[in-house]
Each structure stands twice: as structure tokens, then as C-alpha cells.
């Protein structure tokens, strides 16, 4: 099957919208569950879209942008999975693998933008210093429009403009390369967690990290709830304890102040 120009344009438009949604993390229409469904709808085969939505969503379940990392792009993955299944007639499950390079291409572009947009910070500082809210707003929104446009163009090109070449490129990609990307995707969350730890981990929190890790290793369950609940319990215990400590310290301080202290040099 072929993708028509109209279909290509519509998909490009949807890519702009969902691209901005992903950039903002707004309504989560950037997840494959929605992307695939809408793409299927545009291509006139919504059932294909929905089935692909289920499969692709699960495949991308662990691939998140936490801690400022970028996973393989879910929008391009969603779009191309449906498009490739539609054009090549392959099953959606196979199409997920074929769509991966497109997904990774977009991932790189966003990574590049993360670095590139750093150049705006100086200018924004100047505006802020002058309290120029109008110009600040315009400049701070600029990246969003750039990103949105990029999504539109890339999506249109991949879907419509370069159907033939893309197909052959996909077929030419060696297994070890795509497998490498796949692996990278499942290791990448480590960067995000490393960043989070950088801003949170102090020596006194190491025991809790160990407890969470060990609990997750040995409690077999489909989500993080059990670990989270253990964490809530431990946090509440610590909260009550610290509060009590704080009260005591206050009392102690009062006591120390009252004892009009000449020898205060011993106190810590």
C-alpha cells in the first residue's frame, strides 16, 4: 500500500502536535498508544493502528526521559510502526523493529537540541534582569516551536518523501547495529537515575537505596508500588522520628540558653 500526499501531510501535522506535547510532557498523546491509533485512523485502518498501539506501548514501557535523558523517540516509533506495517504488509510486531532507526534518529535530534538551546540562557538572563516579561516569554517559547516544526518535517519526510530509500536503508541495517540501539535503550535509564542520585544521595540515604534495590530484586511484581509503599513507610517512620528529634533539640536549646552560659565554647 502507498501513503498518499494528504495522508502524509496529516501525519506531519499530528507529529507537530504530539511533538510539542512530548516536549512539554503535557497530555501524553506522544505515547505509542495514541500515536499509533491516530496514524492508523489517518491511514484508514484504525484496527491496525490500535493493535500496533498495544504492542508498541508495551515495547516502550520502560523507555522514559527521566532525569533529562532522551529515550528512543516514541512518536516516530509509533508513526513508523503503523506506516511500515501498512506499506510493507508485515505484522505490527515486526514493524516495531523496523521502526527503531527512525525512533533513534529523532532521539538524536532532541539530544542535539538539548545542547543547542543552552545558547539562549544568556539572553534570557538579560531579559530577566530588566524584568522584560514579554520578550522573555517569546524567547522561552521559541524552542517549543522549533521542536514542533522539526517533528513535522521529519515525520513527513520519513512517511511520504522517502518511502523508497527508507525501506532499503532499513533493510540494509545490520542486526548488531539495531540490537545495539535496543540495548542502549535499556541501559539508558541509568543516566537518569545517576542524575537523580547526584542531587539526592547523601551517605545517610545509602541504606534506603539498598533496601529499595533489594526489595525490587526479590519482590516479583509488575510495577513499583510495593517498593514505593515500603519507601513511604520508611519515610513516615523517619519523619516522625526527626520531628521528635527536632522538638528535643529545641527543648535542649532552650535549656542551654536558660543556663546563662559562660562556658559555651564546649557546645557544638
Amino acid at each position: 500500500m502507498q501513503v498518499t500526499l494528504m495522508q502524509g501531510l496529516l501525519i506531519g501535522l499530528f507529529a507537530i502536535i504530539s511533538g510539542i506535547d512530548f516536549w512539554w510532557e503535557g497530555f501524553y498523546i506522544f505515547r505509542p498508544m495514541i500515536v499509533c491509533t491516530i496514524t492508523g485512523l489517518i491511514l484508514g485502518n484504525i484496527t491496525l493502528g490500535i493493535v500496533a498501539a498495544g504492542l508498541t506501548e508495551l515495547a516502550f514501557a520502560g523507555l522514559t526521559p527521566v532525569g533529562g535523558t532522551q529515550p528512543p523517540n516514541p512518536i516516530m516509533a509509533g508513526i513508523m510502526t503503523v506506516v511500515l506495517a501498512y506499506t510493507t504488509g508485515k505484522s505490527p510486531a515486526t514493524a516495531i523493529g523496523l521502526a527503531l532507526p527512525f525512533s533513534i534518529l529523532m532521539q538524536y535530534i532532541i539530544l542535539f537540541y538539548y545542547s543547542a538551546f543552552s545558547v539562549l540562557t544568556k539572553k534570557l538572563d538579560t531579559y530577566a534582569e530588566k524584568g522584560g516579561t514579554k520578550r522573555f516569554t517569546n524567547l522561552a517559547l521559541l524552542p517549543t516551536w522549533i521542536v514542533g516544526l522539526t517533528y513535522g518535517i521529519i515525520a513527513f519526510l520519513c512517511v511520504y518523501g522517502a518511502q523508497g530509500p527508507m525501506k532499503s536503508l532499513v533493510n540494509a541495517m545490520p542486526v548488531w547495529l539495531s540490537h545495539g540501539f535496543e540495548i542502549a535503550g535499556s541501559i539508558l535509564p541509568a543516566v537518569g537515575f545517576g542524575l537523580l542520585l547526584k542531587s539526592m544521595l547523601k551517605a545517610r540515604y545509602v541504606p534506603y537505596l539498598l533496601i529499595g534495590f533489594t526489595a525490587a530484586c526479590f519482590i516479583k511484581f509488575g510495577n513499583l508500588m510495593p517498593v514505593a509503599i515500603i519507601g513511604v513507610a520508611l519515610a513516615l517512620i523517619e519523619y516522625n522520628r526527626s520531628k521528635k528529634d527536632a522538638e528535643n533539640e529545641k527543648k535542649l536549646k532552650t535549656a542551654m540558653e536558660n543556663s546563662n552560659g559562660g562556658d559555651d565554647e564546649d557546645g557544638i
Binding site: W23, L58, T64, T133
Partner: protein
């Protein structure tokens, strides 16, 4: 108290509607995301109308507040409205800049950990898992439920922002006193769940097998690493990255790149 009054003679007051709008505007949090200071620019953008209303004609104060908000921040996007609401109430009450900035900086890390665990690693897998059951069989219920959940999540930003705001308003003195305790408890929770996240979401499986005799091989993964401790490689790699980030000041982009290259090379060698 008096001294504060004189310092901030004309602080404006946000209405309930203003705070709700602040929640909605928290959507701008990542509008200028970049590696230098992450969400700082978008964060400030989201805060602008509130700050303007609070500082009224105090141009100087507004500029000051905006600049202070432009410091590095990176937190979960559903935790952001909470923190924004909290900050707004502190600004409104004329707290010291150092208190406001200190609190924001102390809380964004733990809130990122907790928020990510709740939204990315608990709600998303639950919703995805459930709706995919429908979708895989071609039922429109799958994407529909998924969409409705996340529309609701989006509008939850309004009450979340209000929660942050009222917590701040009602309990400013308490918060100032307890900020250390709250951030301590939040870090306990955050670190526990990050421990769990590492075990669950980082996956490294060595494929290499050592041939011992003709026809017999020994798997490095199942007969070596898995016998020491489950998920020991993910833990080790995450700590390596943590160490590079913290002690060697390596940039995250660098680490992402290296991870990619490593993954591809090791895939090519057949190790991973």
C-alpha cells in the same frame, strides 16, 4: 513582622483562579529545556504572571525574583505545580529570597525521584499494561481509557498547584521550621524508589558463554553474575555513572553518548 511589611509594602495576593492558572501554566516547565540549566527557563516562564501580580509595580523585585528562578532545576512535571504553588505562597508572604530559593532547591531533587516513581514508573506501566490488554485485541477502549487518564492527569495540575499554595500559606512558619525534616523524609522515599528503579528499569544482560568442553558452555550471566546478586550489573553501572557525574563532573550528554557507543560495540562483539 514589621520589618517584612516595610520591605514588601505592596505585595499582591493571588486568587484561587490565579493559582489554578499557575498549575495550567506549569505545562511550560519544559518549553526551553536545555542541558545547561534544564527546566529553569520554562519554570520561570510558568511563574511570570504570578510573580507580576505579586510584585505589582515593584519592577526591581520582579526582576530579582525572575533572576533567582533562573537557577538550575529539574523535577518531575507533575511535582512542578506543587513546588510552584508553594513558591508562589512564599513570594506572596514576602519570605526572604534565600528561604524561597533554598526550599525550591532542597525539594526539586527528592520530588523528581518520588514524582518519577509515581508517574513514570507506577502509573504509566499500570495504565499501559491495562490498556494494552484491550488494544492488542483491537478494542478502541485501549487508547480511549489511556487518553482519558492522561487528560485527567493534566487537569490534576490545578489541584496540585493549589495544594502546594495552601500548604505554603497555611504552614509557612511550619515549613520554614520543618523544611529540613520534610526534605529528609522525601529523600528517604526518593532513594528507596530509585533503588527499586535501578533494579527494575536498567537492564544489562551479558550474552557471552565460555566453552569448557566440547558441547558444554558456561554462561557468564546466569552462572556468574546472577549467582552473586540479581541486577548487579545495572547497580554497578548506575553507580559508575553517579560517580562520574558527581566526582568527575562529566556531562550527562557525554555519558549518554558513551553508553550508546558502548552498547553498539558490545553488541557487535556479541557481549551484550
Amino acid at each position: 513582622m514589621e520589618s517584612k511589611q516595610s520591605e514588601t509594602p505592596t505585595r499582591g495576593k493571588l486568587t484561587k483562579h490565579d493559582v489554578g492558572m499557575l498549575g495550567i501554566r506549569s505545562i511550560f516547565n519544559q518549553s526551553a529545556m536545555n542541558y545547561e540549566r534544564m527546566q529553569a527557563d520554562g519554570w520561570t516562564l510558568a511563574m511570570i504572571p504570578s510573580l507580576k501580580k505579586i510584585y505589582k509595580d515593584d519592577k526591581k523585585g520582579l526582576a530579582n525574583a525572575m533572576k533567582s528562578n533562573l537557577q538550575f532545576i529539574n523535577t518531575n512535571n507533575y511535582a512542578a505545580p506543587l513546588l510552584m504553588g508553594l513558591e508562589a505562597s512564599l513570594e506572596e508572604n514576602g519570605e526572604k529570597r534565600s528561604t524561597i530559593d533554598g526550599l525550591r532547591i532542597a525539594l526539586f531533587g527528592p520530588l523528581a525521584g518520588i514524582g518519577d516513581a509515581i508517574t513514570w514508573f507506577t502509573i504509566l506501566p499500570i495504565v499501559a499494561g491495562i490498556t494494552a490488554s484491550f488494544a492488542k485485541q483491537g478494542s478502541i477502549l485501549g487508547p480511549l481509557i489511556f487518553f482519558l487518564v492522561y487528560v485527567a492527569m493534566f487537569f490534576a495540575r490545578i489541584p496540585i498547584a493549589r495544594l502546594g499554595y495552601t500548604t505554603g500559606t497555611k504552614a509557612i512558619s511550619k515549613i520554614r521550621e520543618n523544611s529540613a525534616i520534610v526534605s529528609h523524609a522525601a529523600s528517604v522515599l526518593g532513594c528507596t524508589v530509585i533503588g527499586g528503579l535501578i533494579a527494575t528499569y536498567v537492564q544489562i544482560t551479558v550474552k557471552t558463554k565460555i566453552p569448557v568442553t566440547a558441547g558444554h558452555t558456561i554462561s557468564i550471566q546466569t552462572q556468574f553474575f546472577d549467582r552473586i546478586f540479581p541486577n548487579i550489573l545495572p547497580l554497578g553501572y548506575t553507580f559508575l555513572l553517579y560517580w562520574l557525574l558527581k566526582k568527575k563532573n562529566v556531562s550527562p550528554v557525554m555519558l549518554i553518548l558513551v553508553t550508546f557507543i558502548l552498547a553498539i560495540v558490545l553488541s557487535w562483539l556479541g557481549v551484550l
